[in-house]
């Protein structure tokens, strides 16, 4: 029975041998599903790579990409002499690391918690509610935070005052500001991040849990010895991807929350590039910064991928 089933399934080893054409015909409907994604990548990910050359040119809109003069590494040299850039780079790394430590696991923790909820309707409701904030725009969340965190009229400080505390100007102090950046990002993204883990947990064979129960394992032991090891591969993939976006600390969020009091400490590469690129039309320079950022991101992905293989996991590729 098992042997028969295996025969039906496309054997990965066999795929390489059958011709591409016969495979395309055989799985045409599956490949059709892939088409929109491929088109998206061509238009939005591979197409723009052509434009990256303006990082090495003095780009003028009217002259176009082709007509603008080559200037070599000029913009990169300027970047490393630009003290603001050095500062925003460290800000980015700092905020990203905090997010990596606190936010990346939040999706996993939420998925594990939801997994323990036995009531089906309640579990669905809880995961829907936690996922909802993902669809809110940061422009909206930003102004809500400004209102509820205000020391004079905000809800949070009203509670603090009620218990006899002194109001805190959350958005005016760097550490509090970063605290709320992390907390609001967690609130916004934990539900969404949990989806992939919920799916991975759902794929674990119930046989394993049964066997563990027979051996006398409680829920905690089942979590440690069944659930976590079974989704370890997923966890690693998610971590590799998160590390790979290390240089993105969340443009929308910071841009909609920061102010003059904390700006020098929370200004990140993306907000700086936005101000220069869009607001001051320095296209070449901001492209150079963006390119630099992506090179670092790629290097980090390769490194963590290698690392995950070293510790015996599959990694991304």
């Amino acid at each position: 029975m098992t042997a028969l089933r295996r025969k039906d399934r496309p054997n990965p080893a066999m795929l390489g041998k059958s011709s591409l054409r016969s495979r395309l015909i055989k799985y045409r409907w599956l490949y059709l599903f892939l088409v929109p994604a491929i088109i998206w990548y061509i238009i939005f990910a591979y197409g723009p790579i052509y434009g990256l050359q303006i990082a090495f040119k003095d780009f003028k809109i009217l002259k176009g990409i082709e007509g603008s003069a080559w200037v070599g590494m000029k913009h990169f040299n300027k970047m490393f002499a630009d003290r603001t850039f050095i500062r925003v780079m460290w800000n980015t790394v700092y905020i990203s690391l905090l997010k990596l430590v606190f936010i990346a696991p939040s999706g996993l923790v939420l998925a594990l918690l939801l997994n323990e909820v036995t009531h089906k309707f309640y579990r669905g409701l809880a995961s829907s509610i936690t996922m909802l904030p993902h669809f809110f725009s940061w422009v909206v969340i930003g102004s809500i935070l400004l209102e509820i965190l205000s020391p004079s009229t905000g809800m949070v400080n009203a509670i603090i005052r009620f218990f006899g505390g002194k109001p805190i100007y959350f958005l005016g102090e760097t550490n509090w500001f970063i605290f709320w950046v992390i907390l609001s990002d967690m609130w916004e993204s934990a539900g969404w991040n949990s989806i992939i883990f919920i799916a991975a947990i759902g794929a674990i064979s119930p046989d394993l849990y049964e066997a563990a129960q027979l051996d006398g394992a409680g829920r905690w032991k089942q979590l440690i010895h069944v659930t976590l090891p079974c989704i370890a591969g997923t966890i690693v993939v998610v971590m590799v991807l998160k590390v790979g976006s290390m240089m993105n600390a969340g443009f929308d969020q910071i841009y909609n929350m920061y102010n003059d009091a904390v700006m020098s400490d929370v200004d990140i590469i993306d907000t700086y590039v936005y101000r220069l690129g869009i607001q001051s039309s320095k296209y070449s320079y901001s492209t150079a910064v963006g390119l630099f950022k992506n090179v670092i991101n790629l290097a980090l992905v390769l490194l963590t991928n290698k690392f995950s293989k070293m510790i015996g996991q599959n990694g991304l590729f």
């Binding site: 003028k60 809109i61 009217l62 002259k63 176009g64 003290r83 603001t84 400004l146 205000s150 020391p151 004079s152 009229t153 100007y169 958005l171 005016g172 102010n259 003059d260 009091a261 700006m263 020098s264 101000r275 220069l276 869009i278 607001q279 001051s280 039309s281 320095k282």
Partner: protein, 544 residues
């Protein structure tokens, strides 16, 4: 058959030639304004095409990002309204998007406008220059006025204080405003002043305490002349050091609302004017003259009335505009206003510690830079200039800004135009006229001609332009001495903007001590300030 075919071909040829001639007759102008009509073929667009005999193709962009997309597409508009930032003009010049014009072109195509502006300010047409060439026709702002310090008269009365005339008296009044319970509710819930740090605006000079810097005759974002006759950037001048020392001291004493960093400049329900009018603070200084007049419509006035039952009773007591718009703004205690209800005083600048008179920052006389796309030829530029000239100086054309008679304005029996009080209830109503396609959409020369400010008259506009505006303009004031765009300002865009605002906040809050002032100045010098100062003085030497 052959004959027939050749006949058809000949006819086609003739037709196409006629068609070509017809198409040539009407020039198409691609128009990128501050605002765009919501839909094509609006009343304003048709009136524009009819009046000037051109085809206008409206470009739409609601933000700088969307404008950048239009430029990047290569389809460059012929007319581009660049708002009031000359650095933004210089950016586009650097990108090759704008074309220069000559003074002769302006003189030839805008004779009336040229005569009018140069009579008011002989150097006016040099203000749109970048790298020694004219890239913009500046729109004269006939309503430019200083940003004036405004104080709650009812609080002064309650605390038995005179209108402050010196910085010591001001400090005393501010201390009382904060700790003397000026609103009489028995709770320590008031501050003396706040600022609109939570806003993103291109009007940087308005954001942080302009009237307090004004005590020392500087604005941190304006260039000023120092005692050596050299240009100096306001933020690093001695005046700013004194103003910041004073502000840091006030902040330490708790006189300044700590939320001045995140308070909005105008829009929200907790913006500066809202805090002032609802009695959270007793002093404000970040808005223009037309926000203050007693008409229940100016930005401050409307909020003030909303917070005052007495003024609400007054404004609902009659529809007689002679009565409604009778009150002037005041720079001292006023019995007339006191008889109605609580009021505010637009005060004279106070004297500094050494007895020198202060002044207020004037928002310069360039309302906007009107520019021309690089792909527009001379004929097209000439036509656009003629259009702008006619809009600015011909009363009938000027009136197109308001749309057709009977909607936004009416004509009274004696022929004066008055605003239609029912306008806001009409389906054509839009605060910026974007439904009719009028207003700033196609008629940018509004407010440019001092003689036409009361083209739509009526008591309310006589109050605003004939009484309040002159009073504000009479306050001692100073302007930005730099009237050119510096190449270094393009290279270091943050040095004259974000760097300044970040550091003002830190110095006022004490995050950076005033003892480290020299370090802040040095930091500014190293981040582009040295180049900026050098270039500013090079330019200054050419005009002095």
């Amino acid at each position: 058959m052959k004959k027939f075919l050749s006949l058809v071909l000949a006819m086609l040829l003739v037709l196409s030639m006629v068609g070509g001639a017809l198409a040539e007759e009407k020039m198409t102008i691609k128009w990128l304004a501050a605002l765009a009509p919501l839909e094509d073929d609006s009343w304003g667009e048709k009136a524009f095409e009819e009046t000037f005999g051109v085809d206008v193709q409206i470009k739409r962009a609601e933000s700088e990002d969307e404008r950048a997309v239009i430029y990047a597409s290569g389809d460059i508009p012929d007319y581009i309204n660049m708002g009031n930032s000359l650095n933004a003009v210089a950016n586009l010049v650097d990108q090759g998007i704008l074309r220069p014009v000559t003074l002769d072109m302006i003189k030839e195509n805008m004779p009336e406008y040229y005569a009018m502006c140069t009579a008011l300010d002989p150097d006016f047409f040099t203000y749109g220059m970048v790298d020694g060439e004219i890239y913009a026709v500046p729109r004269y702002s006939a309503t430019s006025a200083p940003l004036v310090g405004t104080i709650r008269a009812d609080w002064l009365r309650k605390l038995n204080l005179a209108v402050p005339t010196t910085v010591e008296e001001l400090t005393e009044a501010f201390t009382q405003f904060t700790f003397g319970d000026p609103d009489g509710n028995g709770v320590d819930d008031t501050y003396a002043l706040t600022a609109g740090g939570g806003s993103t605006t291109s009007d940087w000079q308005r954001i942080y305490f302009p009237s307090i810097f004004g005590i020392y005759n500087v604005n941190p974002y304006y260039w000023t002349e120092n005692e050596n006759g050299e240009l100096e950037f306001g933020f690093v001048s001695e005046g700013s050091r004194k103003a910041l020392t004073l502000l840091a001291d006030w902040y330490k004493k708790g006189l300044i609302d700590p939320e001045f960093v995140t308070t909005e400049l105008r829009t929200s329900g907790t913006d500066v004017a809202s805090k002032f009018c609802s009695g959270k603070v007793g002093y404000m200084d970040c808005l223009g003259f037309d926000d203050y007049e007693w008409d229940n419509d100016g930005h401050v006035s409307a909020k003030w009335v909303a917070n005052s039952p007495e003024w609400q009773a007054f404004f609902s007591s009659t529809t007689d505009t002679k009565v409604l718009y009778q009150y002037d703004t005041t720079s001292d205690f006023s019995e007339a206003l006191e008889a109605v209800g609580p009021y505010y005083i637009n005060m004279n600048p106070v004297k500094d510690e050494e007895g020198n008179t202060g002044s207020y920052p004037l928002e310069g006389n360039v309302g906007a830079y009107l520019c021309f796309g690089a792909t527009a030829d001379d004929a097209k530029v000439a036509k656009i200039m003629q259009i702008l000239n006619q809009e600015a100086t011909d009363e009938e054309t000027y009136m197109l800004h308001f749309g057709p008679e009977g909607i936004q304005y009416l004509k009274t029996e004696d022929g004066t135009r008055v605003f239609n009080p029912e306008y806001t209830n009409l389906p054509e109503y839009h605060p910026q006229g974007q439904i009719l396609g009028v207003g700033w959409c196609l008629y940018p020369m509004y407010f440019s001609n001092p003689d036409l400010l009361t083209a739509v008259a009526g008591d309310r506009y006589v109050q605003r332009y004939d009484r309040v505006l002159p009073m504000f303009r009479a306050f001692p004031s100073f302007d930005n001495k730099l009237k050119a765009s510096l190449p270094a300002a393009i290279e270091y865009p943050e040095a004259t903007t974000t760097f300044v605002s970040n550091n003002i906040v830190k110095l006022v809050r004490g995050d950076i001590s005033m003892d480290d002032w020299d370090k802040v100045v040095e930091d500014w010098m190293n981040n582009g300030g040295r180049e900026l100062t050098e270039q500013a003085n090079e330019w200054y030497a050419t005009v002095k």
